[in-house]
């Protein structure tokens, strides 16, 4: 009896170990893992909310309907940071996706390490995609060496102001319009702040402050082509930062820390407790669920010069992919007219392909926001932050100090000095 128990235990143990060690590539475990039927399987890693995921699923379904040689396996991460971690662990585990979708501010650390396969040559010889069909402003940040196209953007979004039109009407205020000034924005925010409603909601982050710094004539880095330090301590940069901080400290028109921590600003806008909310196009699918009030979009208020900041993510091919030809074929579809139309219909993207951006798919005023032309008008005014290897870490460190200063009503000059000092060593780090 005891011997039988031992035998059974041994067999069960071996079965468990065998199951644990087996690899079926079920969850897209390998870059390319044979095929489904006769098709080659490639994996595509992206992140997004439910509506975005649906869009990518639609793109994949349309692609697979259009051809039968390639099967695309979708992998999703919840949000930006999880995407970075999933991708880095996949690379470390020698099982990277063939394609991933990533923001220009984050892809640099992968490109710096040679993990991304540049697509310049493929783009040049493609009969489907042509570089001149895309917005240059979106394409440039995805040239990691400054010359050759590393990734291709699906998106040419920017920071804009979403406003609650009903609140403006109730307060007898003119709606935000192109060319409106910072002073009007502030005045409106003050008048709209009453009870549990705040006039303006904006996350205290470097990329939110950057367009106002530029608009004021200041700089975010010392040299945009080859940055060696943040330049937030310059006079004009500090001035713009102080204006930004004053939204909370001096005027109280933006929610305090405990309110912002209790509920994301986006949710507060949805509930009608924030009158103006600054974000990019990515929130539109969620905002389209609003039924209680009318809302629309306006460009950023102008301090001195009209400016906004690029928000863009791109399809990138991993250097370790074993099926780069197939991956490129999918990229051509996803970034071509049909793929970009599918993405645009969700409201999530400002298409990087001019023909789709200028079409009714994106501009139809019956789709909210009705004033989508704002995003296209912004494109010539867009500036980008650097895409160097350590940029993600630099931003994270800067954001920590900026957030602390914003909510503690600190002096912008002091915060700027601290940010510059603490991030300095990161620029010097050899990532190449």
């Amino acid at each position: 009896m005891r011997s039988s128990v031992r035998h059974v235990t041994l067999i069960l143990s071996l079965l468990i170990v065998g199951a644990a060690c087996s690899s079926d590539g079920g969850d897209g475990g390998e870059a390319s893992d044979g095929g489904v039927g006769d098709r080659v399987t490639i994996s595509f890693l992206a992140e997004g909310e439910a509506e975005e995921i649906e869009a990518y699923e639609d793109i994949v379904a349309a692609f697979e309907d259009a051809q039968d040689a390639i099967h695309v396996e979708l992998r999703f991460a919840d949000e930006g940071e999880e995407l970075l971690e999933q991708l880095s662990t996949a690379l470390a585990g020698d099982a990277p996706p063939d394609i991933f979708l990533m923001n220009y501010r984050d892809y640099g650390q992968f490109a710096a390490r040679g993990a991304v396969q540049p697509v310049e040559d493929r783009l040049a010889s493609s009969s489907v995609l042509h570089a001149e069909d895309f917005y240059d402003t979106a394409m440039e940040p995805f040239k990691f060496d400054g010359t050759n196209q590393t990734c291709i953007p699906q998106n040419a979004s920017s920071l804009v102001v979403y406003y609650n039109a009903d609140l403006f009407e109730a307060a007898n205020l003119d709606l935000p319009a192109t060319g409106w000034k910072w002073e009007k924005f502030l005045q409106d925010a003050v008048q709209l702040t009453r009870g549990d409603v705040y006039g303006a909601g904006v996350d205290p982050e470097l990329i939110r402050m950057a367009p106002f710094i530029w608009s004021n004539g200041g700089q975010v880095v010392d040299d945009e082509a080859d940055p060696t330090r943040l330049a937030l301590d310059g006079r004009l940069s500090t001035q713009a930062t102080q204006r930004f901080f004053d939204l909370r400290g001096a005027y109280g028109v933006s929610p305090p820390a405990e309110v912002a921590d209790a509920s994301p600003l986006e949710e507060q806008f949805l509930e009608g407790t924030i009158a103006m909310y600054l974000d990019s196009r990515k929130v539109v699918p969620t905002l389209r669920t609003i039924t209680d009030f009318d809302w629309d979009v306006a460009p950023l208020p102008v301090v001195k010069e009209p400016v906004s900041i690029l928000h863009s993510d791109a399809y990138c091919m991993t250097a370790a992919s074993d099926h780069q030809d197939e991956a490129w074929t999918f990229m051509e579809f996803a970034l071509g007219s049909e793929g970009q139309q599918i993405a645009a219909e969700t409201g999530r993207t400002v298409p990087s392909l001019r023909s789709v951006a200028e079409s009714d798919v994106f501009l139809d005023p019956s789709n909210e926001p009705s004033n989508s032309r704002v995003y296209l008008d912004n494109i010539p005014l867009l500036r980008a932050v650097p895409n160097i290897g350590p940029w993600a870490e630099i931003e994270e460190m800067a954001n920590g100090l900026i957030e602390e200063g914003y909510y503690s009503n600190a002096e912008a000059a002091e915060v700027a000095r601290e940010v510059v000092t603490q991030t300095q060593p990161l620029f010097a780090r050899d990532e190449g």
Partner: protein, 280 residues
């Protein structure tokens, strides 16, 4: 008999530890070939503002959470010894947080600690007490993480409970016959006989506490409120490895954690041994 266990320890603990020590001497992003740096990673850590913050936060957590958890666990173990009505349910309630998956537990606390809508602040407000900004202010955020750790005392409680059960009842009868009161019996009978177990729990808890902050810091406070109010060593290691691709640097930080744990555990062992030698 111990061979399978030792084999498992060798493969799953010793080997990864040795590889980590080796990795700490290199710059390696797991994409390009590693390059030997010697002790440069350790030197850089000493000047890293984030590492110093993580070290400080971890030591503070250790200094507060470990004794609080131990005292509470032992106290509850002694309190719930007698067979009382509802005693089993109470013991179950004490143990329950320890078996909830870490992620679910963290998400529960994210709701509990919500400064406006969380039940904790709502209860405090109803009692007319101050309502800390748990997720927005540094001090309250650290206390929030400590609270999360303290409530997961189930395993410590269980071991202490069992250790108390092993104390022969005869000894209490003898002590009572000699006129020893309840406090005296606890100090002279219960605690000394439980001491080996308590020492084990102290050492174990110390080692685990240096890692236990990872999920709360990652999911609940995200290392903030900024800058670095709840950045602990495990989160520092995780970020450097998986967010910044600095595996060698993260490995060096892990070596520091190992050294810190070993030092503290050794110190505790020496102190308790001396205390025991003087007392017993």
């Amino acid at each position: 008999m111990a061979a399978p266990f030792l084999l498992g320890v060798a493969i799953l603990v010793v080997l990864p530890a040795l590889l980590t020590f080796a990795m700490s001497l290199f710059r390696w992003d797991l994409v390009r070939d590693p390059s030997f740096l010697g002790l440069d990673n350790f030197r850089e850590l000493l000047h890293d503002v984030n590492f110093r913050a993580a070290m400080r936060n971890s030591l503070i957590y250790l200094a507060i959470a470990v004794p609080v958890r131990l005292v509470l666990a032992v106290g509850l173990a002694l309190l719930l010894q007698p067979r009382l009505i509802g005693g089993a349910a109470a013991r179950g309630a004490v143990f329950l947080p320890a078996v909830i998956p870490d992620v679910a537990y963290a998400l529960l606390w994210l709701w509990i600690l919500n400064p406006l809508y969380g039940p904790l602040n709502l209860a405090l407000a109803a009692l007319g007490l101050p309502t800390p900004a748990w997720l927005s202010a540094g001090g309250p955020a650290r206390w929030g993480v400590i609270m999360m750790g303290v409530f997961q005392l189930g395993e410590t409680f269980l071991v202490a409970f069992a250790a108390r059960r092993l104390v022969p009842a005869r000894l209490y009868e003898l002590a009572a016959e000699q006129g020893a009161g309840p406090w005296s019996r606890m100090w002279r009978v219960t605690l000394p006989l439980m001491l080996p177990t308590l020492l084990l729990l102290l050492l174990r808890d110390t080692a685990l506490s240096l890692q236990a902050t990872f999920v709360p810091a990652l999911l609940v406070t995200e290392g903030g409120p900024p800058p670095n109010a709840t950045l602990y060593l495990p989160l520092f290691v995780y970020r450097n490895a998986f967010s910044y691709f600095r595996y060698g640097y993260a490995a060096a930080a892990t070596v520091w954690v190992f050294a810190l744990t070993a030092s503290i555990v050794w110190l505790q062992y020496r102190v308790v041994r001396r205390f025991r030698a003087e007392w017993i």
